[in-house]
């Protein structure tokens, strides 16, 4: 899905404006992902998803949440100290980047469309897809460019 959005501007547009239909195009959807919103990371905007009240997470696209997503540390701190949380994941954001934290308080589920890494212009969709990680789609990591060992 992410790789297709990177490769196909029309698909990316559909994913951002009509996410439920765009996700269903690729065969995904269902329980705990009935109402999706996709938010885009750019060089200037970094999105991070959390559920402070329980552990809401988009199951159909990301599977069940990892332990850290459900932990008190992540749930408590993501909203008050997102930059500190990201630092603990090894991601240091520049001071001028805008951080948007999405607290999934209702039945809308969020997915981050990560920024396409540099030096990937010649890669095809399958090669791009191999770079994408779950953590990048929650917003606690960036997708690393190839040859740097990947971000997984």
């Amino acid at each position: 899905m992410v790789a297709q959005a990177w490769s196909d501007p029309a698909y990316k547009q559909r994913l951002l404006t009509n996410p439920d239909a765009a996700i269903a195009e690729l065969g995904y959807g269902g329980l705990q992902g009935e109402h999706m919103v996709v938010v885009e990371n750019t060089a200037k905007v970094h999105n991070l998803v959390v559920c402070t009240l329980c552990s809401c997470y988009p199951w159909p696209v990301l599977g069940l949440p990892p332990v850290w997503y459900k932990s008190a540390a992540y749930r408590s701190r993501s909203v008050i100290d997102p930059r500190g949380v990201l630092r603990e994941f090894g991601l240091e954001l520049a001071a001028d980047v805008e951080v948007r934290v999405w607290d999934s308080t209702a039945e809308v589920r969020y997915l981050v469309l990560p920024e396409r890494p540099a030096s990937t212009e010649k890669m095809n969709e399958a090669e791009l897809a191999a770079l994408v990680t779950r953590d990048a789609m929650v917003g606690v990591a960036k997708v690393a460019p190839p040859r740097e060992g990947g971000s997984a």
Partner: protein, 219 residues
């Protein structure tokens, strides 16, 4: 309720402990806990909001002591007791009481893929007037209900801007207590991080919350 589940902004929970390529379930019983919770939910005796509320009522000391899927089981047992689906003596013994009815679960193996792929949508196809419009300044009400609510404490009394209107959804506060669905608009509201946390936050950062019409008032 102002419980410990409402964690946004709390301190002292320690560092994040990322896990690289961790398994979905760390123990077999966690998977069973997940499956049993789904299967029992299919009886329709309660709903997702009631389940969340039940988990929120776990005593704070236990909430932190036990693990995520243990909370699921503890809450499920309470719901089953309340609905007469299991007797305290059966929980004690681990076997059915003499003469207790044996019932087949409505969630059969064949129906699992349907549940998973179709989901349980919370959006309602009814006409309800929206009290707020995109771009409007709003304030999260200062409410402290003892029942279930999805308005976190850290946003109460704070002002933000309606970012988008998601349409009409059932209302968890009433649904959790079986007082009806009370369908109403849900909005994403953008709060400046400094409105929530003061000068320590970066001026350009923000937190977005999905809030129901009843949680908001004009700012």
């Amino acid at each position: 309720m102002n419980g410990v589940h409402d964690m946004g902004g709390m301190h002292g929970m320690g560092p994040i402990q990322p896990e690289i390529n961790g398994p979905v379930f760390h123990q077999k019983w966690e998977g069973r806990s997940f499956a049993i919770t789904r299967a029992m939910g299919a009886w329709g005796k309660w709903n997702l909001d009631a389940t969340r509320f039940q988990r929120e009522q776990i005593a704070p000391v236990d909430y932190f002591r036990i693990s995520y899927y243990e909370r699921w089981i503890v809450a499920l047992v309470e719901l089953m007791l309340k609905n007469g689906m299991v007797a305290p003596s059966e929980l004690e013994s681990g076997v059915p009481d003499k003469g207790s009815a044996k019932q087949l679960p409505p969630l059969t193996t064949e129906r699992v893929p349907i549940l998973v792929s179709k989901g349980v949508p919370a959006r309602r196809d009814v006409q309800v007037t929206a009290s707020f419009r995109v771009g409007q300044r709003v304030r999260a009400r200062n409410i402290n209900p003892v029942g279930h609510t999805r308005l976190p404490r850290y946003a109460r009394g704070r002002a933000g801007t309606v970012d988008r209107d998601h349409g009409v959804f059932l209302f968890p506060d009433t649904n959790a207590l079986f007082l009806g669905e009370k369908p109403q608009h849900v909005y994403t509201v953008r709060f400046a991080a400094r409105e929530l946390w003061g000068e320590q936050a970066a001026p350009q950062d923000s937190v977005y919350l999905d809030l129901w019409d009843d949680y908001l008032e004009p700012a």
